[in-house]
Assembly symmetry: C2
Homo-oligomer: 258 residues x 2
Amino acid sequence: MKQLTIIKIGGNIVDQPSALEEFLKKFSKESGPKVLIHGGGVMATELSAKMGLQVNMQNGRRVTDLDTLKLVTMVYAGWINKSIVGLLQKFGTNAIGLSGADGDVVPATRRSPYPVDFGYVGDVNPVDINVALLESLLGRGITPVFCAITHDRNGSLLNTNADTMASSLAIALSRDYSTKLIYCFEKEGVLSNPDDEDSVIPLITKSSYELLKETKAVSGGMLPKLDNAFAAIESGVAEVCIKHALNLGNSKGTVLKP
Amino acid sequence: MKQLTIIKIGGNIVDQPSALEEFLKKFSKESGPKVLIHGGGVMATELSAKMGLQVNMQNGRRVTDLDTLKLVTMVYAGWINKSIVGLLQKFGTNAIGLSGADGDVVPATRRSPYPVDFGYVGDVNPVDINVALLESLLGRGITPVFCAITHDRNGSLLNTNADTMASSLAIALSRDYSTKLIYCFEKEGVLSNPDDEDSVIPLITKSSYELLKETKAVSGGMLPKLDNAFAAIESGVAEVCIKHALNLGNSKGTVLKP
Protein backbone atom coordinates (compact mmCIF):
# COMPACT_ATOMS: atom_id res chain seq x y z
CA MET A 1 0.00 0.00 0.00
CA LYS A 2 1.22 3.52 -0.79
CA GLN A 3 2.34 5.63 2.20
CA LEU A 4 0.77 9.02 2.98
CA THR A 5 1.59 11.54 5.71
CA ILE A 6 -1.10 13.95 6.88
CA ILE A 7 0.11 16.76 9.11
CA LYS A 8 -1.99 19.23 11.06
CA ILE A 9 -0.39 22.45 12.27
CA GLY A 10 -2.06 24.56 14.95
CA GLY A 11 -2.79 28.27 15.06
CA ASN A 12 -0.16 29.04 17.68
CA ILE A 13 2.65 28.06 15.32
CA VAL A 14 0.97 29.49 12.22
CA ASP A 15 0.90 32.87 13.95
CA GLN A 16 4.68 33.06 14.49
CA PRO A 17 6.36 33.81 11.14
CA SER A 18 9.80 32.41 12.04
CA ALA A 19 8.43 29.23 13.67
CA LEU A 20 6.06 28.73 10.75
CA GLU A 21 8.89 29.07 8.25
CA GLU A 22 11.07 26.62 10.19
CA PHE A 23 8.18 24.15 10.39
CA LEU A 24 7.48 24.45 6.65
CA LYS A 25 11.15 23.76 5.87
CA LYS A 26 10.88 20.54 7.89
CA PHE A 27 7.55 19.73 6.27
CA SER A 28 9.14 20.12 2.83
CA LYS A 29 11.78 17.55 3.78
CA GLU A 30 9.18 14.90 4.69
CA SER A 31 9.43 12.30 1.95
CA GLY A 32 6.55 10.82 0.01
CA PRO A 33 3.06 12.14 -0.67
CA LYS A 34 1.72 14.43 2.05
CA VAL A 35 -1.16 16.69 3.00
CA LEU A 36 -1.08 19.70 5.33
CA ILE A 37 -4.02 21.03 7.35
CA HIS A 38 -3.59 24.32 9.19
CA GLY A 39 -5.44 26.19 11.90
CA GLY A 40 -5.31 29.93 12.37
CA GLY A 41 -7.48 30.78 15.35
CA VAL A 42 -4.94 33.05 17.00
CA MET A 43 -4.72 35.38 14.01
CA ALA A 44 -8.51 35.28 13.58
CA THR A 45 -8.97 36.38 17.21
CA GLU A 46 -6.47 39.23 16.75
CA LEU A 47 -8.15 40.45 13.57
CA SER A 48 -11.57 40.24 15.24
CA ALA A 49 -10.32 42.62 17.91
CA LYS A 50 -8.93 45.00 15.26
CA MET A 51 -12.28 45.05 13.50
CA GLY A 52 -14.31 45.40 16.69
CA LEU A 53 -15.90 41.99 16.19
CA GLN A 54 -16.76 40.14 19.39
CA VAL A 55 -15.33 36.64 19.75
CA ASN A 56 -17.85 34.22 21.22
CA MET A 57 -16.40 30.87 22.37
CA GLN A 58 -18.59 28.00 23.64
CA ASN A 59 -16.90 24.86 25.01
CA GLY A 60 -13.64 26.01 23.42
CA ARG A 61 -15.20 26.39 19.99
CA ARG A 62 -15.83 29.57 18.05
CA VAL A 63 -19.45 30.62 17.50
CA THR A 64 -19.51 31.65 13.84
CA ASP A 65 -22.05 34.27 12.78
CA LEU A 66 -21.90 35.63 9.20
CA ASP A 67 -19.35 38.35 10.02
CA THR A 68 -17.18 35.81 11.81
CA LEU A 69 -17.46 33.40 8.88
CA LYS A 70 -16.24 36.17 6.56
CA LEU A 71 -13.39 36.92 8.91
CA VAL A 72 -12.21 33.33 9.42
CA THR A 73 -12.52 32.63 5.68
CA MET A 74 -10.39 35.69 4.96
CA VAL A 75 -7.79 34.68 7.54
CA TYR A 76 -7.72 30.89 7.07
CA ALA A 77 -8.40 30.48 3.33
CA GLY A 78 -6.83 33.82 2.41
CA TRP A 79 -3.70 35.05 4.12
CA ILE A 80 -2.63 31.96 6.08
CA ASN A 81 -3.35 29.39 3.37
CA LYS A 82 -1.73 31.37 0.56
CA SER A 83 1.28 32.44 2.67
CA ILE A 84 1.92 28.79 3.47
CA VAL A 85 1.55 27.79 -0.18
CA GLY A 86 3.95 30.58 -1.23
CA LEU A 87 6.56 29.50 1.34
CA LEU A 88 6.23 25.82 0.41
CA GLN A 89 6.81 26.73 -3.25
CA LYS A 90 9.99 28.50 -2.13
CA PHE A 91 11.10 25.37 -0.26
CA GLY A 92 10.54 23.18 -3.32
CA THR A 93 7.15 21.67 -2.41
CA ASN A 94 4.55 22.15 -5.12
CA ALA A 95 1.61 22.98 -2.84
CA ILE A 96 -1.99 23.75 -3.70
CA GLY A 97 -4.19 25.54 -1.17
CA LEU A 98 -7.70 24.19 -0.73
CA SER A 99 -10.81 24.70 1.31
CA GLY A 100 -13.36 21.93 1.51
CA ALA A 101 -15.49 23.78 -1.07
CA ASP A 102 -12.76 23.58 -3.71
CA GLY A 103 -13.45 20.67 -6.01
CA ASP A 104 -16.19 19.77 -3.50
CA VAL A 105 -13.45 17.85 -1.69
CA VAL A 106 -14.80 18.19 1.86
CA PRO A 107 -18.56 18.79 2.06
CA ALA A 108 -19.95 19.18 5.57
CA THR A 109 -23.24 19.35 7.42
CA ARG A 110 -24.17 22.47 9.34
CA ARG A 111 -24.33 21.61 13.01
CA SER A 112 -27.75 21.47 14.64
CA PRO A 113 -28.52 24.68 16.56
CA TYR A 114 -29.47 22.62 19.65
CA PRO A 115 -28.30 22.65 22.40
CA VAL A 116 -25.80 25.36 21.34
CA ASP A 117 -26.15 27.33 18.08
CA PHE A 118 -22.61 27.54 16.77
CA GLY A 119 -23.78 29.34 13.60
CA TYR A 120 -21.93 28.58 10.36
CA VAL A 121 -20.10 25.57 11.75
CA GLY A 122 -19.85 22.33 9.84
CA ASP A 123 -19.17 18.73 10.76
CA VAL A 124 -17.49 16.37 8.32
CA ASN A 125 -18.35 12.76 7.68
CA PRO A 126 -15.24 11.08 6.21
CA VAL A 127 -17.34 8.99 3.80
CA ASP A 128 -18.42 12.23 2.05
CA ILE A 129 -14.85 13.30 1.23
CA ASN A 130 -14.00 13.21 -2.48
CA VAL A 131 -10.68 11.45 -2.54
CA ALA A 132 -10.44 11.18 -6.36
CA LEU A 133 -9.26 14.77 -6.87
CA LEU A 134 -6.84 14.51 -3.94
CA GLU A 135 -5.35 11.30 -5.29
CA SER A 136 -5.00 12.88 -8.73
CA LEU A 137 -3.12 15.84 -7.20
CA LEU A 138 -0.93 13.60 -5.02
CA GLY A 139 -0.20 11.48 -8.09
CA ARG A 140 1.10 14.59 -9.86
CA GLY A 141 3.46 15.28 -6.94
CA ILE A 142 1.29 18.13 -5.67
CA THR A 143 0.79 18.68 -1.92
CA PRO A 144 -2.72 19.74 -0.85
CA VAL A 145 -2.74 22.38 1.92
CA PHE A 146 -6.13 22.66 3.63
CA CYS A 147 -7.65 25.35 5.76
CA ALA A 148 -10.56 24.17 7.89
CA ILE A 149 -13.30 25.87 5.87
CA THR A 150 -15.84 23.51 4.33
CA HIS A 151 -19.20 24.00 2.58
CA ASP A 152 -22.74 22.68 2.73
CA ARG A 153 -23.16 22.18 -1.07
CA ASN A 154 -25.92 24.78 -0.90
CA GLY A 155 -23.80 27.91 -1.22
CA SER A 156 -22.75 28.35 2.42
CA LEU A 157 -19.22 28.07 3.65
CA LEU A 158 -18.81 26.48 7.08
CA ASN A 159 -16.18 26.86 9.78
CA THR A 160 -14.83 23.47 10.78
CA ASN A 161 -12.55 22.25 13.53
CA ALA A 162 -9.10 21.79 11.98
CA ASP A 163 -8.29 18.70 14.08
CA THR A 164 -11.47 17.00 12.88
CA MET A 165 -10.76 18.08 9.32
CA ALA A 166 -7.33 16.42 9.57
CA SER A 167 -8.65 13.18 11.06
CA SER A 168 -11.52 13.05 8.53
CA LEU A 169 -9.10 13.45 5.63
CA ALA A 170 -6.83 10.79 7.16
CA ILE A 171 -9.72 8.36 7.53
CA ALA A 172 -10.98 8.96 3.99
CA LEU A 173 -7.52 8.56 2.47
CA SER A 174 -6.80 5.40 4.51
CA ARG A 175 -8.89 3.47 2.00
CA ASP A 176 -6.08 3.83 -0.54
CA TYR A 177 -3.01 4.75 1.49
CA SER A 178 -1.28 3.56 4.63
CA THR A 179 -1.80 6.87 6.42
CA LYS A 180 0.16 8.46 9.23
CA LEU A 181 -1.52 11.43 10.92
CA ILE A 182 0.67 13.90 12.81
CA TYR A 183 -0.75 16.67 14.99
CA CYS A 184 1.88 19.39 15.36
CA PHE A 185 1.46 22.08 17.96
CA GLU A 186 3.39 24.22 20.42
CA LYS A 187 3.92 21.55 23.12
CA GLU A 188 6.25 18.56 23.20
CA GLY A 189 3.40 16.05 23.08
CA VAL A 190 0.71 14.85 25.43
CA LEU A 191 2.01 15.85 28.85
CA SER A 192 1.25 14.11 32.14
CA ASN A 193 1.94 17.48 33.80
CA PRO A 194 0.76 20.40 31.61
CA ASP A 195 3.40 22.68 33.16
CA ASP A 196 6.31 20.33 32.51
CA GLU A 197 7.41 19.93 28.89
CA ASP A 198 9.60 17.01 30.01
CA SER A 199 6.53 14.98 31.08
CA VAL A 200 5.72 13.75 27.55
CA ILE A 201 3.78 10.48 27.54
CA PRO A 202 5.57 8.59 24.75
CA LEU A 203 2.80 6.07 24.07
CA ILE A 204 -0.95 6.13 24.67
CA THR A 205 -3.17 3.18 23.88
CA LYS A 206 -6.94 3.17 23.82
CA SER A 207 -7.04 1.65 27.31
CA SER A 208 -4.40 3.90 28.83
CA TYR A 209 -6.33 6.87 27.34
CA GLU A 210 -9.45 5.86 29.28
CA LEU A 211 -7.37 5.84 32.46
CA LEU A 212 -5.85 9.27 31.68
CA LYS A 213 -9.34 10.67 31.23
CA GLU A 214 -10.66 9.12 34.45
CA THR A 215 -7.76 10.50 36.47
CA LYS A 216 -8.10 13.85 34.66
CA ALA A 217 -4.41 13.63 33.76
CA VAL A 218 -5.42 15.02 30.38
CA SER A 219 -8.12 17.63 29.99
CA GLY A 220 -9.23 20.76 28.17
CA GLY A 221 -8.26 21.24 24.54
CA MET A 222 -6.30 17.98 24.53
CA LEU A 223 -9.45 15.84 24.93
CA PRO A 224 -11.06 16.51 21.52
CA LYS A 225 -7.62 16.12 19.92
CA LEU A 226 -7.20 12.66 21.47
CA ASP A 227 -10.81 11.69 20.78
CA ASN A 228 -10.25 12.55 17.10
CA ALA A 229 -6.98 10.66 17.09
CA PHE A 230 -8.47 7.44 18.46
CA ALA A 231 -11.49 7.77 16.18
CA ALA A 232 -9.04 7.97 13.28
CA ILE A 233 -7.13 4.88 14.44
CA GLU A 234 -10.35 2.93 14.83
CA SER A 235 -11.31 3.93 11.29
CA GLY A 236 -8.17 2.68 9.61
CA VAL A 237 -5.48 5.32 10.10
CA ALA A 238 -2.21 3.44 10.62
CA GLU A 239 -0.58 5.74 13.19
CA VAL A 240 -1.21 9.04 14.98
CA CYS A 241 1.50 11.24 16.53
CA ILE A 242 1.16 14.37 18.63
CA LYS A 243 4.30 16.48 18.81
CA HIS A 244 5.93 19.90 18.76
CA ALA A 245 5.87 21.42 15.27
CA LEU A 246 9.64 21.90 15.31
CA ASN A 247 10.17 18.21 16.16
CA LEU A 248 8.75 17.17 12.82
CA GLY A 249 11.28 14.77 11.33
CA ASN A 250 12.49 13.35 14.66
CA SER A 251 11.03 10.69 16.96
CA LYS A 252 10.01 12.96 19.87
CA GLY A 253 6.39 13.34 20.96
CA THR A 254 3.48 11.06 21.76
CA VAL A 255 2.52 8.06 19.62
CA LEU A 256 -1.05 6.77 19.74
CA LYS A 257 -1.82 3.12 19.07
CA PRO A 258 -4.97 0.98 19.27
CA MET B 1 -9.26 22.39 -31.37
CA LYS B 2 -11.06 22.23 -28.01
CA GLN B 3 -13.05 25.34 -27.02
CA LEU B 4 -12.37 27.23 -23.78
CA THR B 5 -14.14 30.25 -22.29
CA ILE B 6 -12.22 32.50 -19.88
CA ILE B 7 -14.34 35.03 -18.04
CA LYS B 8 -13.16 37.92 -15.89
CA ILE B 9 -15.57 39.52 -13.46
CA GLY B 10 -14.83 42.92 -11.92
CA GLY B 11 -14.90 44.08 -8.31
CA ASN B 12 -18.05 46.20 -8.73
CA ILE B 13 -20.16 43.12 -9.45
CA VAL B 14 -18.35 40.89 -6.97
CA ASP B 15 -19.27 43.35 -4.24
CA GLN B 16 -23.05 43.11 -4.81
CA PRO B 17 -24.30 39.78 -3.45
CA SER B 18 -27.46 39.55 -5.58
CA ALA B 19 -25.72 40.63 -8.83
CA LEU B 20 -22.87 38.24 -8.11
CA GLU B 21 -25.26 35.35 -7.55
CA GLU B 22 -27.16 36.14 -10.77
CA PHE B 23 -23.88 36.34 -12.69
CA LEU B 24 -22.68 33.02 -11.25
CA LYS B 25 -25.94 31.34 -12.29
CA LYS B 26 -25.34 32.54 -15.86
CA PHE B 27 -21.69 31.51 -15.64
CA SER B 28 -22.76 28.02 -14.56
CA LYS B 29 -24.91 27.72 -17.69
CA GLU B 30 -22.00 28.48 -20.05
CA SER B 31 -21.27 25.21 -21.78
CA GLY B 32 -17.87 23.62 -22.18
CA PRO B 33 -14.67 24.03 -20.18
CA LYS B 34 -14.29 27.45 -18.56
CA VAL B 35 -12.14 29.49 -16.21
CA LEU B 36 -13.22 32.41 -14.01
CA ILE B 37 -10.97 35.26 -12.84
CA HIS B 38 -12.38 37.72 -10.32
CA GLY B 39 -11.40 41.11 -8.97
CA GLY B 40 -12.38 42.45 -5.58
CA GLY B 41 -10.96 45.94 -5.28
CA VAL B 42 -14.16 47.50 -3.99
CA MET B 43 -14.38 45.19 -0.97
CA ALA B 44 -10.63 45.57 -0.34
CA THR B 45 -11.01 49.34 -0.24
CA GLU B 46 -13.95 49.08 2.18
CA LEU B 47 -12.08 46.71 4.49
CA SER B 48 -9.01 48.96 4.37
CA ALA B 49 -11.15 51.81 5.68
CA LYS B 50 -12.57 49.59 8.44
CA MET B 51 -9.06 48.62 9.52
CA GLY B 52 -7.68 52.16 9.30
CA LEU B 53 -5.34 51.19 6.47
CA GLN B 54 -4.63 53.96 3.97
CA VAL B 55 -5.34 53.14 0.32
CA ASN B 56 -2.63 54.48 -1.98
CA MET B 57 -3.50 54.45 -5.70
CA GLN B 58 -1.00 55.44 -8.40
CA ASN B 59 -2.21 55.62 -12.03
CA GLY B 60 -5.33 53.71 -11.03
CA ARG B 61 -3.35 50.86 -9.48
CA ARG B 62 -3.10 49.95 -5.82
CA VAL B 63 0.26 50.44 -4.10
CA THR B 64 0.70 47.24 -2.10
CA ASP B 65 2.75 47.39 1.09
CA LEU B 66 2.89 44.31 3.34
CA ASP B 67 -0.26 45.22 5.30
CA THR B 68 -2.12 45.84 2.04
CA LEU B 69 -0.86 42.54 0.61
CA LYS B 70 -2.24 40.76 3.68
CA LEU B 71 -5.54 42.55 3.28
CA VAL B 72 -6.00 41.92 -0.45
CA THR B 73 -4.95 38.28 -0.04
CA MET B 74 -7.55 37.89 2.73
CA VAL B 75 -10.26 39.54 0.64
CA TYR B 76 -9.45 38.16 -2.84
CA ALA B 77 -8.10 34.66 -2.07
CA GLY B 78 -10.17 34.27 1.09
CA TRP B 79 -13.73 35.54 1.28
CA ILE B 80 -14.41 36.42 -2.37
CA ASN B 81 -12.74 33.39 -3.91
CA LYS B 82 -14.28 30.85 -1.53
CA SER B 83 -17.74 32.47 -1.58
CA ILE B 84 -17.72 32.22 -5.37
CA VAL B 85 -16.58 28.60 -5.24
CA GLY B 86 -19.30 27.77 -2.70
CA LEU B 87 -22.01 29.39 -4.85
CA LEU B 88 -20.77 27.70 -8.02
CA GLN B 89 -20.93 24.34 -6.25
CA LYS B 90 -24.56 25.15 -5.39
CA PHE B 91 -25.26 25.94 -9.06
CA GLY B 92 -23.76 22.63 -10.19
CA THR B 93 -20.34 23.83 -11.32
CA ASN B 94 -17.50 21.93 -9.72
CA ALA B 95 -15.20 24.90 -9.08
CA ILE B 96 -11.74 25.02 -7.52
CA GLY B 97 -10.40 28.32 -6.19
CA LEU B 98 -6.80 29.14 -7.02
CA SER B 99 -4.24 31.86 -6.60
CA GLY B 100 -1.22 31.91 -8.88
CA ALA B 101 0.86 30.37 -6.06
CA ASP B 102 -1.32 27.23 -5.96
CA GLY B 103 0.31 24.50 -7.97
CA ASP B 104 2.77 27.23 -9.08
CA VAL B 105 0.23 27.91 -11.85
CA VAL B 106 0.90 31.63 -12.28
CA PRO B 107 4.35 32.76 -11.16
CA ALA B 108 5.06 36.48 -11.55
CA THR B 109 7.90 38.96 -11.36
CA ARG B 110 7.81 41.72 -8.79
CA ARG B 111 7.58 45.02 -10.62
CA SER B 112 10.67 47.24 -10.61
CA PRO B 113 10.43 50.01 -7.97
CA TYR B 114 11.29 52.64 -10.64
CA PRO B 115 9.69 55.00 -11.57
CA VAL B 116 6.88 54.13 -9.11
CA ASP B 117 7.33 51.60 -6.29
CA PHE B 118 4.07 49.65 -6.30
CA GLY B 119 5.33 47.34 -3.53
CA TYR B 120 4.21 43.70 -3.65
CA VAL B 121 2.87 43.90 -7.19
CA GLY B 122 3.62 41.26 -9.77
CA ASP B 123 3.56 41.12 -13.54
CA VAL B 124 2.83 37.87 -15.34
CA ASN B 125 4.52 36.58 -18.47
CA PRO B 126 2.11 34.13 -20.16
CA VAL B 127 4.98 31.78 -21.12
CA ASP B 128 5.60 31.13 -17.40
CA ILE B 129 2.07 29.87 -16.74
CA ASN B 130 1.86 26.16 -15.94
CA VAL B 131 -0.96 24.97 -18.11
CA ALA B 132 -0.53 21.25 -17.36
CA LEU B 133 -2.34 21.38 -13.99
CA LEU B 134 -5.10 23.59 -15.44
CA GLU B 135 -5.62 21.21 -18.35
CA SER B 136 -5.76 18.28 -15.95
CA LEU B 137 -8.43 20.04 -13.87
CA LEU B 138 -10.43 21.10 -16.95
CA GLY B 139 -10.18 17.54 -18.23
CA ARG B 140 -11.81 16.34 -14.99
CA GLY B 141 -14.71 18.77 -15.53
CA ILE B 142 -13.41 21.12 -12.84
CA THR B 143 -13.65 24.91 -13.28
CA PRO B 144 -10.66 26.91 -12.00
CA VAL B 145 -11.62 30.17 -10.27
CA PHE B 146 -8.70 32.57 -9.93
CA CYS B 147 -8.14 35.55 -7.73
CA ALA B 148 -5.43 37.90 -8.97
CA ILE B 149 -2.82 36.98 -6.37
CA THR B 150 0.40 35.49 -7.77
CA HIS B 151 3.81 34.65 -6.28
CA ASP B 152 7.48 35.22 -7.01
CA ARG B 153 8.58 31.58 -6.36
CA ASN B 154 10.68 32.95 -3.50
CA GLY B 155 8.02 32.96 -0.78
CA SER B 156 6.33 36.28 -1.54
CA LEU B 157 2.79 36.65 -2.71
CA LEU B 158 2.19 39.43 -5.24
CA ASN B 159 -0.87 41.53 -6.04
CA THR B 160 -1.62 41.36 -9.76
CA ASN B 161 -4.01 43.21 -12.04
CA ALA B 162 -6.99 40.90 -12.59
CA ASP B 163 -7.46 41.97 -16.24
CA THR B 164 -3.84 41.09 -17.00
CA MET B 165 -4.18 37.83 -15.11
CA ALA B 166 -7.17 36.95 -17.30
CA SER B 167 -5.46 37.86 -20.57
CA SER B 168 -2.26 36.04 -19.54
CA LEU B 169 -4.22 32.88 -18.74
CA ALA B 170 -6.10 33.21 -22.04
CA ILE B 171 -2.85 33.58 -23.99
CA ALA B 172 -1.20 30.63 -22.24
CA LEU B 173 -4.21 28.36 -22.74
CA SER B 174 -4.57 29.39 -26.42
CA ARG B 175 -1.74 26.98 -27.21
CA ASP B 176 -4.11 24.07 -26.63
CA TYR B 177 -7.61 25.57 -26.80
CA SER B 178 -9.52 27.90 -29.07
CA THR B 179 -9.99 30.51 -26.36
CA LYS B 180 -12.68 33.14 -25.94
CA LEU B 181 -11.94 35.81 -23.33
CA ILE B 182 -14.88 37.74 -21.86
CA TYR B 183 -14.45 40.77 -19.62
CA CYS B 184 -17.61 41.21 -17.56
CA PHE B 185 -18.19 44.43 -15.67
CA GLU B 186 -20.90 46.87 -14.63
CA LYS B 187 -21.27 48.67 -17.98
CA GLU B 188 -22.91 47.54 -21.23
CA GLY B 189 -19.61 47.41 -23.10
CA VAL B 190 -17.13 49.93 -24.47
CA LEU B 191 -19.16 53.14 -24.69
CA SER B 192 -18.60 56.01 -27.13
CA ASN B 193 -20.23 58.24 -24.51
CA PRO B 194 -19.35 57.12 -20.95
CA ASP B 195 -22.63 58.60 -19.65
CA ASP B 196 -24.82 56.77 -22.17
CA GLU B 197 -25.23 53.03 -21.71
CA ASP B 198 -26.89 52.92 -25.14
CA SER B 199 -23.70 54.08 -26.86
CA VAL B 200 -22.07 50.63 -26.91
CA ILE B 201 -19.51 50.24 -29.68
CA PRO B 202 -20.40 46.75 -30.99
CA LEU B 203 -17.08 46.07 -32.75
CA ILE B 204 -13.58 47.44 -32.24
CA THR B 205 -10.69 46.47 -34.48
CA LYS B 206 -7.04 47.20 -33.84
CA SER B 207 -7.18 50.17 -36.23
CA SER B 208 -10.46 51.59 -34.94
CA TYR B 209 -8.99 51.31 -31.42
CA GLU B 210 -6.07 53.57 -32.42
CA LEU B 211 -8.58 56.14 -33.65
CA LEU B 212 -10.65 55.88 -30.43
CA LYS B 213 -7.51 56.55 -28.42
CA GLU B 214 -6.44 59.51 -30.57
CA THR B 215 -9.86 61.15 -30.28
CA LYS B 216 -9.95 60.31 -26.57
CA ALA B 217 -13.30 58.60 -27.14
CA VAL B 218 -12.09 55.94 -24.71
CA SER B 219 -9.96 56.77 -21.70
CA GLY B 220 -9.26 56.04 -18.06
CA GLY B 221 -9.72 52.51 -16.75
CA MET B 222 -10.91 51.28 -20.15
CA LEU B 223 -7.49 51.82 -21.78
CA PRO B 224 -5.52 49.11 -19.92
CA LYS B 225 -8.50 46.76 -20.40
CA LEU B 226 -8.43 47.30 -24.18
CA ASP B 227 -4.63 47.17 -24.32
CA ASN B 228 -4.76 43.78 -22.58
CA ALA B 229 -7.50 42.62 -24.89
CA PHE B 230 -5.61 43.45 -28.07
CA ALA B 231 -2.39 42.00 -26.66
CA ALA B 232 -4.34 38.79 -26.06
CA ILE B 233 -5.73 38.73 -29.60
CA GLU B 234 -2.26 39.32 -31.07
CA SER B 235 -0.99 36.41 -28.97
CA GLY B 236 -3.47 33.84 -30.19
CA VAL B 237 -6.72 34.38 -28.26
CA ALA B 238 -9.55 33.75 -30.71
CA GLU B 239 -12.01 36.40 -29.51
CA VAL B 240 -12.39 39.01 -26.77
CA CYS B 241 -15.72 40.43 -25.56
CA ILE B 242 -16.37 43.27 -23.11
CA LYS B 243 -19.88 43.28 -21.67
CA HIS B 244 -22.16 43.71 -18.68
CA ALA B 245 -21.87 40.81 -16.26
CA LEU B 246 -25.61 40.16 -16.42
CA ASN B 247 -25.49 39.95 -20.24
CA LEU B 248 -23.35 36.83 -20.06
CA GLY B 249 -25.06 34.33 -22.35
CA ASN B 250 -26.46 36.88 -24.82
CA SER B 251 -24.84 38.73 -27.74
CA LYS B 252 -24.81 42.26 -26.22
CA GLY B 253 -21.58 44.12 -25.58
CA THR B 254 -18.42 44.95 -27.48
CA VAL B 255 -16.51 42.41 -29.56
CA LEU B 256 -12.82 42.96 -30.26
CA LYS B 257 -11.20 41.61 -33.41
CA PRO B 258 -7.75 41.98 -35.00
